[in-house]
């Protein structure tokens, strides 16, 4: 659905942009998409294939350096217990991606909904919601995470709640700002004149126009949520062992920095590549859907396509 919309947009873009530029962009986006697809495969079947290898202690391969000397499974080296890094990386994909994705989704739903309500209703509701957002954003996010994870325990669900709380304000502000402008447009007046209710207008007329902007923010936010989660795990207040996430792996590898640099290096590299892929893909999406940052002018068309 989204792909069809993207391709239709591409046709209009192609007239203005030289072909090599689109090709160039596609190549980076292609590599990013391939990397993310690979991660999805790891996400889906990785734990089933490699869960045993990832926890098997093999003293013969203790701190094995990257290379094929100790078999393909130790391609990226092994940790102090001889557990292969590659298998642990694949195993960590599930937690890392699942957490980041859930956080973005929760923040989007809560922030988007509150933002739409605040922007559309205005008045006291708006003031209340915006003060709430002020409190959310002036609360040091790391401290909030620390306190909540301390009180409720560092389970995955709590981590998601905490991270989502800190991201909600962004979606709220953006949505509200967009809605403030959209609700003054003629087609909203028309809908109102035809007797449409508030919920209907928000759902069928306003939400589809805000969606592309939120979509772009989501992709970028996915990267930063992943970075925040790994930072929390790195500080030792996020996911706890024996669970595996990339941030935690960097944190554990930090102690072996002098003797086994690969333990911290490769998980960090995986985080960076994934964040980079998300960012590259997002920037590609933006170019495809709105080359001059003036999508507002094309909003009715975006609405028609986004609503399919």
């Amino acid at each position: 659905m989204a792909m069809v919309a993207a391709e239709q947009e591409m046709v209009t873009v192609r007239r203005r942009v030289p072909w090599w530029r689109l090709l160039w962009r596609d190549k980076f986006a292609l590599v990013s998409a391939l990397w993310l697809a690979l991660l999805l495969v790891c996400f889906a079947i990785g734990p089933a294939l490699l869960a045993d290898d990832a926890v098997r202690v093999n003293l013969a391969a203790r701190n094995a350096p990257p290379g094929l000397d100790s078999g393909w499974i130790n391609l990226l080296g092994a940790d102090a217990l001889g557990r292969p890094l590659l298998a642990r990386l694949v195993l960590g994909t599930r937690n890392t991606l699942a957490i980041a994705f859930s956080v973005v989704l929760v923040a989007l739903c809560v922030g988007g909904l509150l933002g739409m309500v605040a922007g559309y209703l205005g008045g006291v509701t708006n003031a209340l919601i915006m003060r709430f957002a002020d409190v959310l954003s002036s609360f040091p996010s790391l401290l909030l995470a620390l306190i909540v994870l301390y009180v409720l325990g560092p389970q995955v669900v709590n981590l998601i709640i905490v991270l989502a709380t800190t991201r909600t304000a962004i979606y709220l502000r953006v949505t509200r700002a967009e809605v403030l402008e959209i609700r003054e447009r003629v087609f909203v007046d028309a809908a109102r004149a035809l007797g449409a209710g508030r919920a209907h207008i928000l759902r069928r007329h306003i939400a589809p126009v805000v969606a592309p902007t939120l979509g772009t923010i989501m992709t970028i936010d996915f990267a930063s949520v992943m970075l925040s989660e790994s930072a929390l795990s790195f500080l030792g207040i996020g996911i706890q062992p024996p669970e595996v996430t990339w941030g935690l792996m960097v944190s554990q590898g930090r102690n072996y920095l002098g003797s086994a640099w690969w333990l911290a290096f490769f998980p960090g590299l995986a985080i960076m590549l994934t964040a980079l892929s998300a960012n590259l893909l997002s920037s590609w999406l933006r170019t495809i859907t709105d080359p001059t940052q003036r999508w507002r002018l094309e909003a009715p068309r975006t609405l028609a396509e986004g609503g399919r």
């Binding site: 942009v17 030289p18 530029r21 160039w24 980076f28 003060r131 002020d134 409190v135 954003s137 002036s138 609360f139 040091p140 996010s141 790391l142 401290l143 620390l146 306190i147 909540v148 301390y150 009180v151 990267a223 970075l227 790994s230 930072a231 790195f234 500080l235 941030g247 960097v250 944190s251 930090r254 920095l257 002098g258 640099w261 911290a264 290096f265 998980p267 960090g268 985080i271 960076m272 590549l273 964040a275 980079l276 998300a278 960012n279 590259l280 920037s283 001059t292 940052q293 003036r294």
Partner: protein, 305 residues
Amino acid sequence: MFGYIGRRSLHSAVALALLIVAVFFLARLTGDPADVLLPVNADQALRDEFRALNGLDRPLLEQFLTFAGNVLQGDLGTSIRKQQPALDMVLEAYPVTLQLAVVAMSIVLVSALAVGSLAAYRPGGVLDRVVSVSSLTAASAPDFWVAITAILVFSVQLRWLPTSGYGGLEYWLLPVGVLVLRPFGMLVQVVRASMIGALASPFVRTARIKGMAERRIIYVHALRNALLPSVTVAGDQMVGMINGLVIIESIFGFPGIGKLMIDAVFARDFAVVQASILVTAVAIFLLFLVIDLVYVALDPRIRHS
């Protein structure tokens, strides 16, 4: 304008009060300081004495009212751990964080504006492609990972710089270098995007037709219009930094507010936690106010009547 500032202050005072209430009760949820600060084998009498001494034995509501009364008189309590006024500890640590943040943000602002404008001049050109990919890479790098990798390379292997500590210039190079990376990457994207938009707009064409010097068009006319979104993003990043550079400060051993806060939470030193959050929140409020005033200065169409 003054009316606007007054109204903003009032709104923020409400938010601040809510924040303080939330922090007071949330911090107490983390547990009893007696568990952390007294020896494990401390008997009940010692515990009771400790709790009575620090006012922890009284009802929570009474503790809160005492605390709120003291805050209104400018007394933020005494650190249980250090037996120092909490406010003093916070005000001692804050300049370190502020210095780091201001140095890093100045570098980020100047370099991102210059690099972003250069890249936007020919969208899709070689320079633009190099800038886009490298700034995205910078924005995607996990700072803790870059920090420990940098320590490994520059301090452990090459032995050029100290691994951690607070002191002369050599202690600042790595932390600032790592800190600059992500904000720079993000800001360059914003500057580039809005400059491309500004350079494509009719007033730039008019200026060119008038025969205005290209440099003046870019750096005076277009940049001024592209500044607004950049100010928003830079402001957000500055807020993030003022909020505590926990990771950078704890990896590089900088005695700033982030390190103070995280240590205080782990030690259940409530007074210090509350004081740091209060001071941070006030600083953030002031920053938001400055950002709003900068908006007005940059764009005369925005009026806060």
